[in-house]
Symmetry: C2
Subunit: 393 residues, 2 copies
């Protein structure tokens, strides 16, 4: 079974079943512009192709109970989300519900061969657990710009060995299924749009604050990737004129002032300088501090940790204020590992954006945390490949 | 004659004739997915409706000469571009060639009633000169955010009386034809896209530096207006932290540091302080300085004038660098009154953007002056209403 519809009508029917779940023929016919007889023809073809199955009786709506249709329960998509320091792999059904999800720590700087070896063994683990016999498609996110049509990373700033690595081609061969590759932040935006807080949003920004910082841009429901695939790469926008030196060679980049990495660095410095007993104790206990330690210290009431988070939120808000005035989105979603810093971070971002952006652009602008946590990226990956496969052949 | 096609095929045929000029049936049939007989039916209907006329013989292509088709030569569109200090009104034919164009000084702060009285008398003047008997549609640009679907300005910062004024409704009644209203910067972008330097660009930014400063955003060939119509309103993005106070209440806004108004103010100050003999002479001669005076002084080699232009370009470049990193456009067009400052301005903008943006985003990014000058807005207006009317009824 391949997962591809033969024409636009079949494509529409498969989308309805994916996004609306099991439906009767009567329910489907209300949503498509097809005569009953033509609908029957297309449904029969989808049944024959094994993409759709008749699945017992649909809920009665007063009249005779009709057989319900649903996507083949055998459909399986793989979502892979490569972060700077971890890999998430999940398997979904055709409706993109997550059936299994594994996270493992991993340093992206080990290079694509090592990273994908790990990701493939995680996928094999999910298969071995009985969740999937194989995959009908896979969507892969990587933490850097991607030449989208070719599925190839391009000049990722801190990822030796990744530039030009044929991710799509290699994984498609290894997995034996179609593969699409995108920037991890775009996948997060797609995930939150499919199943999270951005479900009804047409134009929105999705800011991912993890080890680095990036922004997914959705225009009219579609991800805007830019001319060279680097749209939303906001980590190197200047947040502080003549500010800290950044790995990129410039000064004052947002990422140099706030990101998971910058936060860990600042917290370590505060601990070493004796400015925070709480952070110093955590540093002594584990030998290193992470953004999660700062979050824990803040929750425990440590004022230095709270200050670091507020300051980071303010820097993020300064950059976002510009982007909000420019882009006039209907929603801003904040996610990624550092979103675990929660409402302290969100409050600082909001205060800065509402203070600094045009009132017309912020008048009714919600700035909210993502809903899906680490599942956003893998659901986004499954959705990306599903959308691709649902294009008529 | 109304200018509306009855179906999508007719719409496509009219677009081909608009953008490609007179064509034979054979040429049209190569560009549409219609059988010869169906094409003939649709062409006959367009001829009957008077939207298309048979126009002598098309250029022979080896075989028998065939009658050429073109848009009705009677089609007339009106483009109106309201600036902060001037009004441009032009009449075009169906192919959107400008047949006549009038500019008059006007202060937008006189309010919509006075401004449109002037614009309508300019339109009447064009009609009286024999260029048009009437108009089949009009596209109007105003220098502030617009609720696009309703054609109503919303909260324009320095335009008393404009907020909520029913521009579309009032002008449609006065002119007796369909009217569309948009932000003036968006019209400039549409104009440069239709007939100017952005003809082949899918994703581009169009920065208009006039009395104020704004940016048209085109994504995938279509203007992005944002959730409340304020997308691209970059004049109040912070260019200089703790910088000059701005009329909007914030500090350091781009417009407070560079725009036609800021440039005139800075030049006047330099003249009064005796820092530039050239500017002082111009001030003495005319009683007030404008951006055009600064341009003239710069051309004459005045170093203060050159410095003011360079500094303005640098501030503009600082904001643009952020937007380029974020949006990753394929082209940046710089236009508007101050674009008359020319290559000195362009060089300063380029230097800052290329220095500060991500290399991946600027690697092959042209930053160029607009080609159409003050005609961009009025051509954009004609294109806007033409596109609207070419939607199938």
């Amino acid at each position: 079974m391949t997962a591809r519809p033969a024409n636009a009508h079949q494509s529409q029917l498969l989308r309805l079943l994916r996004d609306g779940g099991p439906s009767s023929r009567a329910q489907l016919s209300e949503q498509v512009c097809l005569s009953r007889s033509k609908l029957a023809v297309e449904v029969d073809r989808l049944l024959e192709a094994g993409l759709v199955v008749a699945d017992g009786l649909a809920a009665s709506r007063g009249g005779r109970r009709s057989h319900s249709l649903r996507l083949s329960p055998e459909l399986r998509f793989l979502g892979v989300d490569i972060g700077a320091t971890s890999v998430d792999v999940a398997v979904t059904n055709g409706e993109l519900d997550v059936l299994g999800h594994i996270t493992q720590p991993m340093d992206v700087r080990e290079g694509p061969v090592a990273v994908f070896e790990k990701a493939l063994s995680m996928a094999a683990e999910l298969r071995a657990s009985g969740l999937a016999e194989g995959f009908h498609g896979a969507g892969i996110g990587i933490p850097g710009p991607v030449r989208f049509p070719e599925g190839v990373p391009v000049a990722p700033p801190i990822m030796p060995g990744w530039d030009g690595f044929p991710v799509r081609e290699v994984l498609s061969q290894e997995l034996g299924c179609p593969v699409m590759v995108d920037n991890d932040v775009n996948l997060m935006a797609i995930g939150e749009q499919h199943a999270g807080v951005a479900r009804s949003a047409g134009d929105f920004l999705c800011v991912k604050i993890g080890t680095g910082i990036g922004c997914g841009i959705v225009v009219d429901g579609r991800v805007h990737r830019g001319t060279t695939g680097s749209a939303g790469d906001i980590g190197h926008i200047q947040a502080v004129p003549d500010g800290r030196p950044c790995a990129c060679g410039n000064h004052g980049c947002l990422e140099a002032h706030f990101s998971g990495a910058a936060l860990a660095r600042d917290a370590t410095e505060a601990a070493r300088q004796g400015r925070s007993a709480d952070l110093a104790a955590r540093l002594a206990a584990s030998g290193a501090l992470s953004a999660a330690d700062v979050a824990a210290a803040a929750t425990a009431g440590d004022t230095i940790a709270l200050d670091l988070i507020r300051e980071g939120g303010t820097h993020t808000g300064q950059v976002l204020a510009t982007l909000v005035s420019f882009f006039n989105p209907g929603l801003v979603v904040v996610g990624g590992g550092v979103a675990g810093l929660g409402h302290t971070l969100l409050a600082a971002i909001r205060a800065q954006v509402y203070r600094q952006s045009l009132p017309l652009a912020t008048g009714s602008l919600p700035i909210v945390l993502g809903e899906l946590g680490p599942a956003a990226g893998v659901i986004g990956g499954a959705r990306l490949i599903s959308d691709h496969l649902l294009l008529p052949a």
